[in-house]
Symmetry: C2
Subunit: 141 residues, 2 copies
């Protein structure tokens, strides 16, 4: 596994998060394979299958989202030939946020494949995550 491959996958992953931050559908179009092989599991959603369903979900998300900042931490890349999977922690904070609201954190698994030298997303799975030690809301019964 060359450092070049690793850098290419890291770039593809960052391009995805820049697309997410931009809330521009045209940028999502550029980072996914636009065919039936792709799938997506948004936090709490059922699995979406194929580019048409996945694209529609980003459309809905972008229409409803307020300006936000998106970070990507603890990135880990595993390469296996023309497929790579990236795991990372997504950090999403509204640009204009209530002072009491911290950023949302998600654990993410992103699977990329390479075709003709181009790395793009095959699958995205994100799920809510609360770092250990953070205060949790307790119910009072």
């Amino acid at each position: 596994v060359s450092d070049l491959d690793r850098t290419a996958v890291e770039s593809a992953n960052l391009a995805f998060y820049r697309a997410l931050a931009s809330r521009e559908l045209a940028r999502m179009d550029e980072v996914w394979w636009r065919d039936d092989s792709v799938s997506c599991i948004h936090p709490g959603w059922h699995r979406l299958e194929g580019w048409s369903e996945v694209r529609r979900s980003w459309e809905v998300i972008f229409v409803n989202a307020r300006p936000w900042q998106v970070g990507c931490e603890q990135t880990r890349i595993v390469l296996a030939g023309d497929v790579a999977f990236v795991t990372c922690v997504e950090v999403i904070a509204l640009t204009v946020a209530d002072p009491d609201d911290g950023p949302a954190r998600m654990q993410a698994t992103n699977i990329f494949s390479r075709r003709d030298g181009d790395w793009r997303l095959l699958h995205h799975h994100a799920s809510p995550w609360q770092p250990q030690g953070a205060s949790e809301e307790e119910s009072v019964n």
Copy 2:
């Protein structure tokens, strides 16, 4: 992509869920690659890296778990050379359950790789999921 490959991946995925159902660590040993490349994101947990950390987590889960039944539904397989990713809905029900408790459902992403003809797990990501239309607990404020 041959039907044989697809069947081999489907079998590897079922072997993982049989290992989960058995709560026997020795069976988990047989379905994962036991090296530093593997990782695991259990529902609500931080990412675990490398077989030693992942194995320990199954040990803790199996020690604490009561007998359960494990199902795997809506299985979808995408093959890309020597890597395959499987998405499915995990259905986990305690064998002796409170009549009011339904099974837990998780959206799962399982990544397998093939080495010397053998398909095993590289990565498992599971997150809680509630089917649409199911009644949700509402807080009374």
